[in-house]
Symmetry: C2
Subunit: 744 residues, 2 copies
């Protein structure tokens, strides 16, 4: 019936049926083999997903694949990428490993792609080595200030601080000709670096582990911006496609990095550039005169003729040989749909990528394992005839995320109009479990309330535990999360919290960058999105991310032994995300609290207030922005009051639909395709990348920083005013969408 | 109730109550004084509209104004623009009139703005005169080929062929320093040019009449593209705003043009450059040696010392003095709303501009007179409680249209999100009566069926006649349109028709350019739009437009005596547009036949087939386009079948809403903000301006022309493929929007 609403008994059933052991078995299957994008195993998993979603007992209404021809980047099989130290005659003194050490029998297979920097151009630059910290703009400025010669050098950088591709972009501006990247034990292992204290003896990254990754600066298929990469689509010529790193880059393990870094000459690097390799980090350029290869501590492959420790001559240089190749490949998304009973034209999307760098047990299979368990539970209810959601549910398994969110981006390009018209929200669960401590959610403000509600309902517990306070059904949590007896919400608030001016202390929901497939949904399409996971106790580790991220050591055993042995964190994520999904698909009124945007706007406005004086000096007034924020707040508050009133009576289906359209479409109103002409896909005026230091609206912050740095350049201050006007227009438009629909 | 549908009795009542005499009285009031945009009289009319729409007995639910600060262009009051012939010593031999002749007592008032070219830059260029026909690119190429020196010349052009601003843009490319424009009697008066055969003795343009107009190349406020021109908005510096004519231009009457043109030297102009001034048109440059001012035939203002006919020396030059000034002015729109009873969040918009160049009886007041009568009739039913539409109706009176659709464009910028979400259609009635022969409609294909239905229902008759075949109400036309006894539809088909592959012979609905306020609605927002008017028997006149267009002779008497003495054509437009409005606002299912787009796509595809061979030579395949058109056709046909099935039963309100959303949003799916980066506001991939000669998708046609002309430039052919892919993606998206909503 048109008034079909969320059924708490169904919700309870779903939550209870989400099975930790089944998630474990999903993960075992998904991570059995490496499944790099477009590899045979990736294609086999496409079939696995199709089969699950077409299962007569637990499948969905329908499932299909969509295929795109996309530009990927792979290392050459014939010519491995190399990093060598060579002396002045060109003889190789030392070579870094070409692959990770085979510690568990899983790192040696033919399907383990050697470490490489995807989209780094081929080339064989050679030059003196310089240590450049994280390769940020400031890092290179500092090196320049210190008089370290960068022209024609190779720089060694550590992961972190800035994006992968940015290291090469920044380096090239200073004449650097090649870049090495490694993961410092201080940044990933809380300092641990020895073989017996790292995987498989602990969750730490082994000395030979190398983080792979995409170094493409944008997202989506590089050759088909704004168009779906169908076989017949227009393609840029790869020579004039933009966003690729300008110079060769190669990632290496920290054991090899130690040989290079601990032997560098030059001055001592600044204190905050030092790391966990057990030596002083110097800046270079070039090696110090008394450097050696320490025979016992390093596992680098030494050439036959250099089988004993050797002096590292100060004149030695580093040669980087990159032989990556660009290839057009067919990548598939798998889509599965449950048709909505009442509003089939409203879509709640739930997705994760399928492709991995190697076995990808954590990334992305912890997410896909949860996805499959959730679709199984819902599919079973559906096939039994017990349940059909009010709105349609679309499950998605994206291809080629690791190369730059390619499958999801092409999907948003192909289905742009339909999604713009009909998508209610996008739920992303990529890595579902980083660690066992607490829930972690990123999303736009309107999803906060539904996530809170879900997290209060369910507990992360031992097997058999489950459902918390589902008010009205009279259920209470059976067991405590871990051993604490708290709901997921009450546990969460202990780890991540903030003081809300509206609600007091609440868990803090993070903002969405471009770290996973939610990026095209929020930035390009303006669809309320979120990413849900279980994660660390930050007081116990300062690891950038889980240590084996994007390495050959990210395997099923790693998850099963170290990350989540009982799979209770997986289950907790499944329950939370499942509850969010069901609330979004089944509630009569969409559980998107648009009023929760007011806190964001207030905080942006408050930060902008710090600019009031300099802006006024350039005749730019914040008055219209203040007014626009107030209008938004008023409109959102009134809308919530109207909803509350309507919820008391029996609701006319069209009246509910009208309100729900306002809630659904609010996020769209923040898009402006003219706002950031240089930023591919980014059009959300609240969540576009902010590089300016003031924590306000990104366009305003960035333009202000730019104007400040150019002094009194009128065009730069004009851009500040333009960005301010864009924000004001967006907020006025947002308020208009929330106001009573027949108001002028 | 949720199933509220069109009430034919109400429709009949509305049609019958639309009163020709009231329209006449509206027109008398509206055109009583000149009401140039932002003038005191324009502001007085804002109050008149507000008063009408707030009338307790015949007003709407609410009415308000929205004000924008926009950049207009006016001639200087202190320094009139001048066009003089000067001899080699600089003495003035001859001056063109600064204003039109005061023939009816209405041309002499202080509020009659002298003829000028709005946005033409100030300047006083002087040079030998050249005749450049219509000032098209081809015209200048031809002059160059003939060896006529254009550098540093002044060119005289006649209106027509290309847009106003284009004449100056084209001229400047050849080094021309000033442009004159006039209206040739052949193009406007079917050759008539004598005082006693022109207004006030006939509808023809008098010898001193001058067409004013905007020479701005884009539309919208020139300083605030894509942003509403609020007082605090970011504004371009007018120095670096684009779209203004590059050189001074001044329009003159044909009597003055005759003095200049009939005295030109040089070779005889080509046959199709000749006109109706009663002499051979030569090309120049400069005057012929035996030229004179013919004393008796010309009314030019002669300087005291040259009060007798004089020789036109071959060395004489033309001096053009333009003193136009750019000014920021406050321009108002007036908005009036009738709240929808069932779907208040669906808007049917009906608008016209309010501002004129002088009295503007025809343009725009014939439209506004109809608008006021229609809003009176509907308002009266509303206030009586007899009727409230299913959807909301928004009436609009736009400001500053004559300067470039400014009020309507700023409106679409301010209410972008709301309109994109909720606008069902936009009905524009600018000049409602050009002449008395036939209906003329321009619009997008989905509006064809509702216009046909309206035109079949009503007749254009004498007073008292009116309603035709309203099937189900058993009404029949009372009297014939004019004396022919035909419905508006049956009359229309006699004048404008085409052979439809689907329907056989039907009236032909024209396409929408950018001639009036529908432009931002269709091109920028993708809202199904139309423009409705009564117009000429083209076998009786070849006038470009009604002869006094944009002159001081466009007065109430002109309409009342020559255009539509009985106001029956006004009434016919009111009835047709009123019926369209009511059908759109009140029908349970939206009367937008999306399937009628298939004919357009087929014709574009057929034209593209002519390019198949050259495209294949550049490895560009039409296959995906063919497939996409077929998909669209299939989806549209199926949707119509689903609608037909649903119409047989009692409809679930949400099911109807879902279908209506598909119908409403179809037009939006044709927008692509990346398609035409150079074309401000144009984003509709089917209706953007086509300059290529092949009558296919405009982006494809234009890119193909460009590629052809550049030979084998790979980047140009890449753009052809890009444009093809954009169209394919749009059509695939359109088909997806029409398919069953839960399909993948
Ligand atoms: Ca693409
Ligand atoms: Ca504007
Ligand atoms: Zn991932
Ligand atoms: Zn990853
Ligand atoms: Zn007009
Ligand atoms: Zn006009």
């Amino acid at each position: 019936s048109a008034s079909q609403d969320l059924d708490l008994e169904i919700l309870k059933t779903v939550i209870e049926q989400l099975d930790a052991n089944r998630i474990r078995e999903n993960l075992r299957e998904l991570s059995k083999e490496p499944h790099l994008a477009t590899s045979p195993r990736d294609e086999a998993l496409v079939q696995l997903l199709l089969q699950r979603w077409q299962d007569p007992e637990s499948g969905l209404d329908s499932a299909r694949t969509t295929e795109y021809e996309v530009l990927l980047s792979f290392p050459s099989e014939e010519q491995p990428n190399r990093v060598d130290v060579v002396n002045s005659t060109g003889a190789i003194l030392f070579s870094c490993r070409h692959s990770e050490e085979n510690l568990t029998g899983e790192q040696g297979g033919p399907n383990v792609v050697p470490p490489y920097a995807a989209y780094a151009p081929p080339g064989t630059p050679q030059g003196p080595l310089v240590y450049a910290n994280q390769g940020s703009e400031e890092d290179f400025k500092e090196l320049q200030n210190k008089g370290v010669k960068l022209q024609d050098s190779i720089v060694l950088t550590r992961y972190g601080g800035v994006g992968r591709g940015a290291k090469a972009v920044n380096a090239a501006k200073y004449g650097v000709i090649g870049v090495l990247v490694y993961t410092d034990p201080k940044d990933i292992n809380d300092g641990k670096s020895l073989p017996n204290e790292t995987f498989p003896h602990s969750w730490c990254l082994p000395p030979s582990g190398v983080e792979r990754g995409s170094y493409f600066e944008y997202f989506g298929d590089p050759l088909t911006p704004y168009l779906p990469a169908t076989p017949s689509s227009f393609r840029l010529n790869s020579d004039n496609a933009s966003g690729f790193p300008p110079i060769p880059i190669q990632p290496i393990g920290f054991k090899d990095a130690q040989v290079l870094l601990c032997n560098l000459g030059g001055n001592l690097a600044p204190a905050d550039w030092q790391g966990g390799l057990g030596c002083d980090y110097n800046l270079g350029p070039g090696f110090r005169s008394n450097g050696t290869f320490p025979e016992d501590r390093f596992s680098c492959i030494l050439k036959g003729e250099w089988a004993v420790p050797r002096l590292m001559f100060p004149s030695s240089q580093v040669n980087v040989s990159v032989h990556n190749r660009l290839e057009l490949r067919n990548s598939s998304n798998v889509l599965g749909i449950i048709r909505g009973a009442v509003e089939p034209d409203r879509y709640v999307l739930y997705g994760n990528h399928r492709d991995s760098w190697v076995h990808g047990a954590v990334d992305p299979s912890t997410g896909t394992a949860v996805l499959l368990e959730l679709s199984r539970v819902l599919g079973t209810l559906l096939k039994k005839g017990t349940w059909r959601p009010r709105r349609s549910i679309v499950f998605a398994s994206w291809g080629a995320e690791e190369f730059g969110l390619i499958g999801s981006t092409e999907f948003t390009e192909e289905f742009f109009s339909k999604l713009q018209e009909r998508a209610v929200a996008y739920i992303n669960v990529d890595i579902s479990v980083f660690a066992n401590a607490t829930l972690r959610v990123q999303g736009t403000p309107p999803i906060q309330s539904v996530v809170f509600s879900a997290a209060k309902q369910v507990e992360r517990g031992r097997a058999g535990s489950g459902v918390g306070d589902l008010s009205g059904v009279g259920l209470h949590g059976i067991s405590a999360p871990g051993s604490s007896g708290l709901s997921i919400y009450d546990n969460w608030i202990r780890y991540y919290n903030r003081s809300s001016s509206v609600y007091g202390l609440v868990p803090s929901v993070g903002t969405l960058g471009a770290g996973s497939d939610y990026a095209p949904f929020i930035h390009f399409l303006g669809i309320s999105s979120m990413d849900i996971a279980y994660t660390y106790d930050r007081s116990k580790t300062s690891a950038r991310i889980y240590p084996t991220y994007h390495t050959a050591f990210d395997t099923f055993d790693y998850v099963n032994k170290f990350l989540d042995p009982g799979f209770t964190s997986h289950q907790a994520v499944a329950r939370t995300a499942g509850s969010v999904l069901l609330q979004l698909s089944d509630s009569l009124f969409l559980p998107l609290n648009v009023s929760d945007y007011s806190e964001t706007l207030r905080s942006f406005l408050q930060a902008a207030e710090n600019l009031r004086v300099p802006l006024e000096q350039h005749s730019i007034s914040l008055g219209p922005l203040v007014t626009a924020v107030e209008k938004f707040e008023g409109a959102a508050t009134s809308l919530n009051q109207r909803i509350a009133t309507l919820q008391k009576g029996t609701s006319d289906p069209l009246q509910v639909r009208i309100i729900n359209d306002q809630l659904m479409l609010l996020e769209r109103t923040f898009l402006n395709s003219q706002a950031f002409p240089e930023e591919r896909y980014y059009s959300h005026v609240l969540w576009a990348p902010r590089t300016g230091s003031v924590a306000t609206f990104p366009g305003l912050s960035n333009a202000y920083s730019q104007a400040e740095s150019t002094g009194h350049e009128p065009a730069a201050w004009a851009e500040v005013q333009r960005q301010l006007s864009i924000v004001v227009a967006a907020l006025e438009g947002a308020a208009a969408t929330l106001r009573p629909v027949a108001d002028l």
